[in-house]
Subunit: 221 residues, 2 copies
DNA sequence: GATTTAATTAACCAACTGGTCAGTTGTTTG
DNA sequence: CAAACAACTGACCAGTTGGTTAATTAAATC
């Protein structure tokens, strides 16, 4: 005879509750990673009891997987269209980067989750979320551009990693950037994100393009 | 009358034990962050008992602080010399980047610790370890280069962040890169680190330099 | 070589954490 | 409207975790 009456109990809505838990999980996992995130905190943040997590997801780890998948699904879907082997490499590169940054703007926790997954969890779900495909798409574009002499003679794989680094780091550092930068603007506000995208695209394209080619694309300083 | 005899007890050496604990802490914190790192694991890795941690450092958090300081001290020391206001911006930029990557080669856990500190711990020790100074040094160099028309018209602060991203991301992603790259070389082996440094310098300098200037420096593709 | 000092250990503890479950109650169905 | 269903809760549990402490003993001191 353990449990008694119980509170009014929020409106019963399977989909809504599941979504609330998942959203809360996303935030907590992005902030603390799988190991350090607390199920109780996730429950409180989503406004339900801990039991719901296990009712809907079975375990902390399964919830983590679900959160990962939800966050990275939109990214994965969009990679493919930039892999077209006959597109202009510079345009394709700008396209991927802008798309990645665009999607990340709506999921600012994604880079942090990627970091946690790589460092802390040793990439157990790395293939599962299909992230390697981003490297492959980038490396292919770079390789094609290099052969066409549009891009400089950089190593495609190293450069692909460097590009992903530029795309991810800003969001991870954002929390602290505000106190370092002059002006004190919030790095995650819309105007700053827009500026970051333009700056990143310009930096990346100039970084890879051959000198006589650098006036070719649309990126603005 | 709780404790009994006790094992032979390793050779008693204050400095050596302290150092062993600190080294183990560095690895564990770099892999799991402050929250998820376990004191028992740190103790086992350093070959002593958990009590030693509290004997020498007082608490998990103080140990974390000590580990942070030890890792970032060499970086901080070397920033200043590149801040000279009359040096050539391109050379200064290459100098800072190479120095940062050089030091990081010896402390591969540094980027991961920085990441954990920023994301998980919300940068409580961010100012303490003096990391903002790296951004300031970079931004100053970029600003000078821009005014001298050696660098393109990029925003210095955004670009400083992007440069730090390039310097850090490789080390954080290294664990998983091996299975993604063709050839399967260990990204942390000496030759790869050397290559990464060259690639990063080339990418970064081309990313910021004005077009007619890009043959000016020593970076190699 | 006896005394003092402090490095080291094993056992211990209170608080916490992932996970379970009996029971409650809003909702749906026949 | 009664019965079946399932969303939801709160108490509970076993294992873990940061931290403490009395006892032990290798060295330093005299």
């Amino acid at each position: 005879m353990r449990p008694r009456p119980g509170k009014p109990a929020r409106t019963r809505d399977r989909a809504a509750t599941r979504a609330a838990v998942l959203a809360a999980a996303e935030e907590e996992f992005a902030r603390h990673g799988l190991e350090a995130a607390r199920t109780e905190d996730i429950a409180q943040r989503s406004g339900v009891t801990k039991g719901m997590i296990y009712h809907y997801f079975g375990s902390k780890e399964k919830l983590y997987e679900a959160a990962l998948e939800q966050v990275f699904a939109p990214l994965l879907l969009s990679f493919q269209q930039f892999a077209a082997p006959h597109s202009d490499p510079a345009q394709a590169l700008e396209g991927v980067v802008r798309r990645v940054l665009e999607i990340t703007s709506d999921q600012p926790g994604a880079p942090a989750m990627l970091f946690f997954e790589t460092i802390q969890n040793r990439g157990a779900y790395y293939e599962k979320i299909g992230f390697p495909s981003l490297y492959h798409v980038l490396a292919n574009i770079l390789e094609r551009g290099r052969k066409q002499k549009i891009f400089r003679a950089l190593d495609s794989w190293h450069t692909a990693v460097n590009i992903v680094g530029v795309c991810c780091f800003y969001y991870c550092a954002a929390q602290r950037l505000q106190s370092v930068w002059p002006g004190g603007k919030n790095p995650l506000q819309r105007s700053m994100l827009k500026q970051h995208a333009d700056q990143a695209v310009s930096f990346i394209l100039s970084g890879v393009q051959a000198e006589h080619m650098s006036a070719n694309t649309s990126h603005k300083g």
